[in-house]
């Protein structure tokens, strides 16, 4: 485990000034549906933060508001602020392409492109004109190594990405996100379609990634949240019910709702 000074901190204790991601009074609507209500959340640099809650509580919407992927949904409306390193990304002239480059995203189902393994990883650096030739090869290799996939695929980089297993595909997607040198990685239930062995590998990978990146992971798997995260946020019906040190949230939940959820009374 990483060193965390505030061992038993609560939500308020986490309202520190050096947050990597700072969500303030965030509201999101899809049409008439008010999906997120007044969310305040500060996420620290180089930690793993889990966002959990029953399905439909808005967890996915919350992480998608951090890289402005909600903008792509027809009829979505966002009010409030999300600061990344002190810059409000909902400011009018934000360069969303640059923003999304700096924030990697891994999705629920592995979604490699119908291209070769190499091309999948090289896609990001290529469109951002970050590297070419030998330099690009290096980025691909480094990213695959970081995603703990290199040894398995180094001899078949030019095979189709679909030739990989589900767990491998998900790690490829992580490598693809790492290739554009992000600082934050958002993961939307990355293990929900994987078997236990593949899940374990991804979780181990996650811990290592948090040494370098700020990781936000959405999960409805309580054990997973307990295993991998430093901090846990509990969302219910679009509201942030509880947020704090993972251990504290699980052992000593302050909200009745959180307790009920953790003990499996609903969810």
């Amino acid at each position: 485990m990483k060193q965390i000074s505030t061992k038993n901190c609560t939500h308020d204790d986490l309202m520190v000034n050096d947050a990597k991601i700072d969500v303030r009074k965030l509201n999101v609507w899809f049409g008439d549906n008010h999906v997120l209500k007044d969310i305040n959340l500060k996420i620290r640099e180089k930690t793993v933060t889990a966002i959990m809650g029953p399905s439909g509580c808005g967890k996915t919407t919350l992480i998608r508001s951090i890289n402005r992927m909600n903008d792509l949904i027809n009829g979505s409306r966002t009010l409030g602020e999300v600061y990344i390193d002190g810059y409000n990304i909902y400011e009018r002239n934000t360069n969303v392409y640059e923003l999304r480059r700096k924030i990697g995203m891994v999705f629920q189902k592995p979604n490699p492109f119908p291209k070769s393994i190499y091309e999948n990883v090289a896609f990001g650096p290529k469109i951002h004109k970050m590297a070419r030739g030998k330099e690009l090869d290096d980025i691909v290799e480094k990213s695959l190594k970081e995603a703990a996939l290199w040894d398995e695929v180094k001899d078949r980089l030019h095979n189709s990405a679909f030739s990989l297993s589900g767990g491998q595909q998900q790690r490829l997607c992580i490598a693809r996100a790492l290739a554009v040198k992000p600082e934050i990685i958002l993961m939307d239930e990355p293990c929900s379609s994987l078997d236990p062995t593949a899940t374990a590998r991804i979780e181990a990978l996650l811990r290592r990634l948090s040494e370098k990146y700020t990781v936000v992971i959405v999960t409805h798997n309580l054990q997973q949240a307990a295993r991998v995260s430093d901090f846990t946020a509990f969302l219910y019906m679009g509201k942030l019910v509880e947020y704090g040190d993972t251990k504290r949230v699980f052992e000593n939940p302050q909200s009745e709702l959180t307790e009920k959820y953790i003990t499996g009374e609903f969810g």
């Binding site: 992927m69 999705f107 492109f113 119908p114």
Partner: protein, 283 residues
């Protein structure tokens, strides 16, 4: 009252017979054309020009003319169709403009070829002074295949899973980068299939080239876009209806068979591409 089992049997027999009739009707037509056409086709028939005075000669200018027409038509229809499809599938939200555009695409797809031909003749050839020419006919033919290209391309692009687009956009790709590198690359074989089927359609079309392309009896290959162009369907039509001598009918058979073979070649290759693509998508 007959029992369900017996009814089932009777229905089955009826369905077999009716299906046999409908499928065999095409078989009979093709067979008829093959038998009568193959007697006519020879190297000479394929490589010489027709002799419109004695209703003899070959179909060389007509084969080349048909290819020219189809090429010109595709050069116009494919880019326009694909651009429209990209706009409808990747860019436009379901707004009023999209709805209007879709309505007009359906309308354009339904315009009878005689109307397109009449328009091409009166507007393109006479009013714009483009003449009865390769150009007039090629443009008019593209009106026939544009809606077709749009529909097939849009379907192909919509079939590309949403997850691919999300992954690309989340990496910071712009909409166009996503469309170009991911959507179009993935949908390309299908779009190709659509374009090939459009080519087959344009190739077999008679009315439009008849009205604004040329008489079908051309003994030369057009040297510019603004010269009349012969084409196989028009040749077949003229030889079949104006000749009234056995040599003319023979040549119409020859023209039909060559047309069928070219059409089959294009259609079958589009089917092969489609099947390969489907197999690839599954693995």
């Amino acid at each position: 009252m007959i029992g369900a089992q017996k009814e089932e049997l009777i229905i089955k027999i009826i369905l077999w017979i009716v299906s046999l009739i409908s499928v065999s009707s095409f078989f009979v037509i093709f067979l008829y054309m093959f038998i009568n056409g193959s007697r006519v086709i020879s190297l000479e028939f394929l490589t010489t020009a027709p002799n419109p005075i004695f209703w003899t000669g070959g179909i060389f200018p007509q084969i080349i003319g048909s290819l020219y027409l189809v090429a010109l038509c595709t050069v116009i229809a494919a880019p326009l169709g694909i651009l429209t499809a990209i706009y409808l599938s990747e860019y436009a939200v379901d707004n009023l403009i999209t709805k209007i555009a879709r309505f007009f695409i359906v309308t354009l797809a339904g315009i009878p070829t005689i109307v397109i031909g009449l328009f091409g003749l009166a507007f393109l050839a006479y009013r714009l002074n483009l003449g009865i020419s390769l150009f007039s006919a090629g443009v008019a033919l593209s009106f026939l295949t544009i809606p077709w290209t749009i529909t097939v391309s849009e379907e192909a692009m919509r079939a590309v899973p949403k997850e691919y687009r999300e992954a690309a956009l989340a990496l910071g790709a712009t909409r166009w980068q996503t469309t170009w590198h991911i959507v179009l690359k993935t949908a390309a074989p299908w779009i190709m299939t659509g374009i090939l089927l459009g080519i087959g359609k344009a190739l077999g079309e008679t009315t439009i080239p008849l009205m604004c392309g040329g008489s079908g009896l051309e003994t030369f290959i057009p040297r510019s876009l603004f010269e009349p162009v012969g084409s196989l369907p028009v040749y077949t039509f003229i030889f079949a209806t104006q000749g009234n001598v056995s040599s003319a009918y023979d040549r119409a058979f020859g023209g039909s068979l060559v047309l069928i073979l070219m059409f089959l070649l294009i259609s079958v290759s589009s089917l092969i591409i489609r099947n390969r693509y489907q197999k690839k998508m599954r693995t």
